[in-house]
Amino acid sequence: MSRNDLLYLMPLLVLAGGAILNMLLVAVKRTHKIMYVLTILVHIGALLALYNIKNITAYTVYPLFILDGLAVFNLGLILLTSLAVTLLSYAYFEQREERKEEYYILLLLATLGACVLVISRHFASFFLGLEVLSVSLYSLIAYLRTRERSDEAGIKYLILAAFSSAFLLFGMALVYAVSGTMEFSGIGNYLSSSRELDTLLLTGFGLMIVGIGFKLGVVPFHMWAPDVYQGAPAPVTAFIATVSKGGMVALLIRFFSQAGGYRYPDMLLIFTIIAIASMFAGNLLALRQKNIKRLLAYSSISHLGYLLVAFLAGNKLGVEAVSFYLVAYFITSLGAFGVVTILSDKDRDADKLRDYRGLLWRRPVTAAIFIAMLLSLAGIPLTAGFVGKFYLLAAGVNTQLWLLVVMLVINSVIGLYYYIKVIAVMFAQPNAKREPRKLLHPVFYLTSGSTMMVLALLLVWVGINPNGLMQLIHGLLDTFIAAR
């Protein structure tokens, strides 16, 4: 462990330190505002630390971590997303829970877990990152413990996550038993040196997919998603939808490309089936869903299915597409759940479709943002989602994954139905009699509101002029691709 290592791991250290600092602060005095500001500062600090190392080629902190373009990109993405979630959280938690402070600790820890995932190159760090993330999430999901649904969601997530972690671990153990190493690159080396494929190794990979698939929320490991999305507090839902999945996607890419997963037709077949099944199940389940959070959960299932198309393409364009899509998907999901967050009141989250009836006329700006987010999810131009989907299709077409690409198209169409259904609800005439919802003081919304505006602007900006982002991804991924 050298000073260099520490320098490169600075973003993570800042996060960990921030968490500890927060905890100490709680011990001293519980002040929501200070915690909030501190958390924001920690994020900014981590981002600054990250900015410091943005130009690295590939740096290995032996044996657990590696920092390369992919890692830097995803770290930045995760940190920014987490920052946005934080920004949205203040107004949400201010009036819901008398103990809001632990939330920030847990959020920082969860972010740390996701960051660890992103830079892992070893089973141990993979596992630990995953668990830090998971364990924080258990509490975050059940954070509003007086809400029955929150608890239910928490326990469901806990048992299922632990359950799938067991699969993951067993799989890792098998891989380790066969290959004798737990480093991704080591496994890759082992595989390229052996001319034949061990079935046991394949089994190990298969069982690992269970664990990975659970975190990604893809079929058939997706069933937790709607319940947890619904039960969790809206900002946490946003976090699950984005950070937790994004971290896992980054890990999957790294694992697959370094361990040589693309070389097994069986693996590709499994992921193809998973991708198609996810698209269909997600979209079809969302079709008549009347709960927005569940609907978004289903939609995120299908979006992960889309994402896998580019992932399966595997080459540089594919990874670029995945990265780009992640950005678009993050912005969109944050925006969508952000709207839910903003609209939620003290008693419950605004997750019913009827809460949105006539929103376009009641709160035009919020509704417009939501519409933009939904259109982005549907992949309609002028939004980031369109460019993202375009990228995915391009990657798919480029590697001639015709089946997947066609499935993607079909599913985009199915998906369109429920997105525009929500939009239609928003522009329907509001019910004549409707008691005004209890709303917080407008000041509380200032940060949330500005966050939302920024997200919406980003969405449109990326949708219209994706050049900058594309160049960034392109540049950062060069090192990753070269390192493979």
Binding site: L202, F205, L207, V210, D227, I414
Partner: protein, 629 residues
Amino acid sequence: MENLLWLIPALPFAGALLLILFGRRMPRNLVAILGAGSVGISALITLLIGFQFLSARPDFYVQQVWTWFDVAGFTPGIAFHLDALSLVFVFVVTFVGFLIHVYSAGYMADEEDFARFFACMNLFVGSMLMLVLADNLLLLYLGWEGVGLCSYLLIGFWYKNPANGYAARKAFIITRVGDTAMAIGLFILFQTFGTLNIQAILSEAPQTWPIGSQMAVLVAFLLLGGAVGKSGQLPLQTWLPDAMAGPTPVSALIHAATMVTAGVYLIARTNVIFELAPAAMLAVAIIGAVTLLIAGCTALTQYDLKRVLAYSTISQIGYMFLALGVGAWSAGIFHFMIHAFFKALLFLCAGAIIIALHHEQDMRQMGGLRRALPVVFWTFLIGAASLAALPLVTAGFYSKDQILWYALAGERGNVWLYLAALVGAFITAIYTFRMVFITFYGEAKTHVSHPPGMVMVVPLIILAILSIVGGFIELPHNFAHLTLFSDLLQPVLPGIAVDETIGESEWMFQLLAAGVALVGVFLAYLFFYARRTAFEESIARSSLAMAIRQFWFSGWGFDKLYDTLFVRPFVYLANINKNDIIDSVYNGLAAFARSVNKGLSQTQSGIMRWYMMGVVVGAILILTISLLP
């Protein structure tokens, strides 16, 4: 003078336009003056141009107003072509049209939609003029369709009665069927010649197609289809009787001057093509012969005065077709002209009767009108005589005799055609005088309330005169060598060669024709004027006769046939598919998606153990896939 040619169709159009735009705010007199006047001036110009044409005797005169459009060498113009044939038609259209307009001013005097009526009438005349003056087939087609439109508007003039509307639609749709055939003919012509200019086609066709060539026959048949539709010939004749729903002047216009004669014009105009297609010629003749018989028989049984006239028109046009079909081009056109006179006359008389009897059209409710409406009676009688071709004194005799003669003696003629024509003449005489006797003789059944005014009577008289003297410009050559009409048409329409072997006995056949007409009149007298004898009564009342009468009355069941063959299936198809079967495919897809959604929703039971089962199943599947080769 020829520079004014464009004014002939333009004036009625202008009149129509003015009437459409401002008609509702004009005083009625002005409407009538504008309506009749515009056609009148056209007629005047026609006369002027006609004189000039006759004196200068050019083959034809063309005036290009502008190029309609120019696509890939296809450059039809808005251009008018005047030659003898069009001159005859223009003359008839403007002149008879003018008379009908004048008459209408009186006839429609009580009508509230006066302006609309005249606007449509003007449009009608204008379209017809466009048709006959067109120098290319596309412009002809414009007039052709315009005529259809106007017939639609005028037949359905009294739109408040839905039946009239249906009659109007029927007319438009059925003629459109023919038009479609014609349009296809135009496609072929264009493809072959690269132009639709009539003169160009006619001059090139003989070089391109040998006589009897398949293409020529095809084109001729297609054009014939169009002609048949417009002219109310078999098998598209069914619209014509129903077209009587319109005001009577309209019927006169349709039957005498415009519309129905368009088919005759088209065939005459494209005579070269028909000459190249003997089969089509024969078809034209046969269609004419059969139509004239069928329509004649139907006319025998009708009670509606106008329907009798309508069927008689069909029948007379059948004569013209027969003439054209046997190659007696100028005879056909001659008959057209004469027919225009007397048929307009008959219709206008009928109109006078009808309006005098408060819109009563059923002949059984008439009778004894001879005294109540003397002028009408005499003019009607003249018209009827002409229609029945009473020998020597009527114009109809001369024109029809020519046709009969050429049907037998012409090089394309034969005995059967002649016999059909002869029988037709016989029937014509019967139903014509049946009409005369029932309407004007016997006892009065309905009181006459509105005797026609001068505006209506004058056109009647003029037409009556024409119906008599019109025939003297072209006499059979065993009478005298007076062939003004066919001479006039000589440059446009080829003459007809006569089979010399029977040429000698022409007078015998003339005698036969005259006799047949007279016998017909006599029979009508027996059955419909004099008290019937028991024998006659038994014939009339026999069940066979009744059945035949019923059959004929219904127009030989054509309406019913078409109803079952085309209309019903179409309506049936339309009705069963009202909600678009294809739509249900998509709705089915949506329903399928919904049911899948329902099924999948069951998996999201909210029960944790079930979710774990999902994970386990997934794991098993993955392992199984790994195990598979």
